[in-house]
Amino acid sequence: MKIGIVCPYSWDSPGGVQAHVRDQAETLIAGGHDVSVLTPVEDPTHLPPYAVDGGRPRAVPYNGSVARLTMGVKATARVRRWIREGDFDVLHVHEPLAPSLGVLACWAARGPIVATVHSSIERSRALATGYYVAQTALEKINAIIAVSEHARRTIVDHLGADAVLIPNGVRVDTFREAAPLRRWAGPSVMFLGRMDEPRKGLPILLTAFAEVRQRIPKVTLILVGPGDPDEVLAGVPAAVREGIVCLGRVSEDEKARALASADLYVAPNTGGESFGIVLLEAMAAGAPVVASDLEAFDRVLDNGRAGRLFPVGDASALAHAIIDLIDDPAERAQLRDIGRQRAELYDWPRVARDILDVYASVTAGQGPVTEDLRGQIVGRWAGRRREAP
């Protein structure tokens, strides 16, 4: 099957959507499909062979922060050419409402179009600014996939459209086979994420860790992720500081290895998580999980059967959970087994099979994706002009 995938955000900046697109493309290619990814990119020399340069992203204030998006006449022309030359059986657009290549692709294409919606915040913004524009793009989409129940509900509630839930995928193989990074002297607890982002909840973990360290002096806290450690750890007493190791920003491989070397993975997030992919990565790597009881985490941890949950923001409950689990190797071993099984459910080949079912349902009896020339005066003009060599 020839599949064209559109990524809305810059390929070289890290992000959940980009990782999802990459894993999806690579899994489908491994399954024998012919995949092309169109994506904005700063430096096209770093693109993998299956990706096509969709233009340089521009920093645009959008959705409350500065997003790196690609749009304009030149981008429209690139999208059109890619669609014309790709001869795809199905077009898969990610974040169709972000003002980027995705929405351009919806306008420029005609034929089977599938879209995946990742975030839920985009929606209200997109609707407030251009309901009509959003509708005209959405109307052309044959099937909408939502990666989380949260994202699905916003589509249903705000747009009245239907969406199929297909969860995010995890590369279980990569995480299962990761060799431990190093052996720590005592039991180790790991945190992953931006250290200075309040919603990741590091301060709660630091408070809890001080309490844990009083009970179990040999315990180590490993911090992985971007952020300035001096700033984050400024208020931490020296005795507690001794037990903290900062690894900083790490590669995907090192992340897997770090998780494989941890005795516990803690996710003290206070909000803003719609899915919780890291939890699944930790479980696949064999790290038992302690997480705050956000709705998304509760879902991933199967109501606490596949990991320990504690009330959001409650540092002493977190400390107790950590102490309990460190003292109970049998419980940790059990959580590790259950977690591994749970992660299998979200393994990419399995997720890709669900996505292929959606493709099959929209392509049955349909021709390939073609360029839509109807009513696209600007695009058509751009297409002709930029085309001419």
Binding site: R110, T136, E139, A143, I144, A161, D162, V164, V362, Q366
Partner: protein, 182 residues
């Protein structure tokens, strides 16, 4: 003085015409989306009944079950496709029969003894999932189309032409849980 009015009226007419032509284009695309979706649904439903017939003639089941399977699959294929209500009922019957014939995992595991049966059941399982997906996509397309067709401009200027009011497909499409539990 009067040329001013001419300019205003002409540009107003042009704008209205542009809007109407764009909306007609939108509506046309939506009608095509429904056609594609209902065709896709048709393909999956026909596939499901065909696979059920294969299953019935495979010799995996006792004679009574075989008769029930074959009868409901035939009924689903023989129904008048232009009557969505009758078709929905016949297809729902087939869904119920499949659910009864493949009641639990123990039974399905027994059936999966031979590789041919295994392949057959896997195909049926994925087709049942696809039936469900296709129907959802079809009904969503109908909803989007109805939303535009309710607009005043669309009704006044008859932008939908002679295309009949679209209908959703109502049926029980729950896949047999013992098959799709994964």
């Amino acid at each position: 003085m009067s040329w001013w009015w001419v300019v205003i009226i002409v540009s107003g007419v042009v704008l209205v015409a542009l809007y109407l032509s764009m909306t007609a284009g939108r509506l046309d695309a939506l009608h095509r989306r429904i056609d594609a979706a209902s065709h896709a649904l048709d393909v999956q439903l026909l596939r499901r009944s065909a696979l059920t017939l294969d299953l019935a003639s495979s010799g995996l089941f006792d004679p009574a079950t075989t008769v029930v399977l074959a009868a409901s699959a035939h009924a689903a294929r023989a129904v008048d496709v232009s009557d969505p209500v009758a078709r929905g009922l016949a297809e729902s019957d087939l869904t119920r029969v499949l659910m009864e014939v493949l009641p639990d995992e123990a039974e399905v595991a027994e059936l999966r003894a031979s590789p041919e049966a295994c392949a057959m059941l896997d195909e049926l399982s994925s087709t049942c999932t696809r039936v469900q997906l296709s129907r959802r996509f079809h009904n969503d397309a109908v909803r989007a189309c109805r939303q535009v067709r309710r607009h005043r401009a669309v009704r006044w200027f008859r932008l939908a032409g002679h295309t009949p009011w679209p209908h959703t497909m109502e049926m029980d499409d729950t896949p047999p849980s013992a098959l799709t539990d994964r």
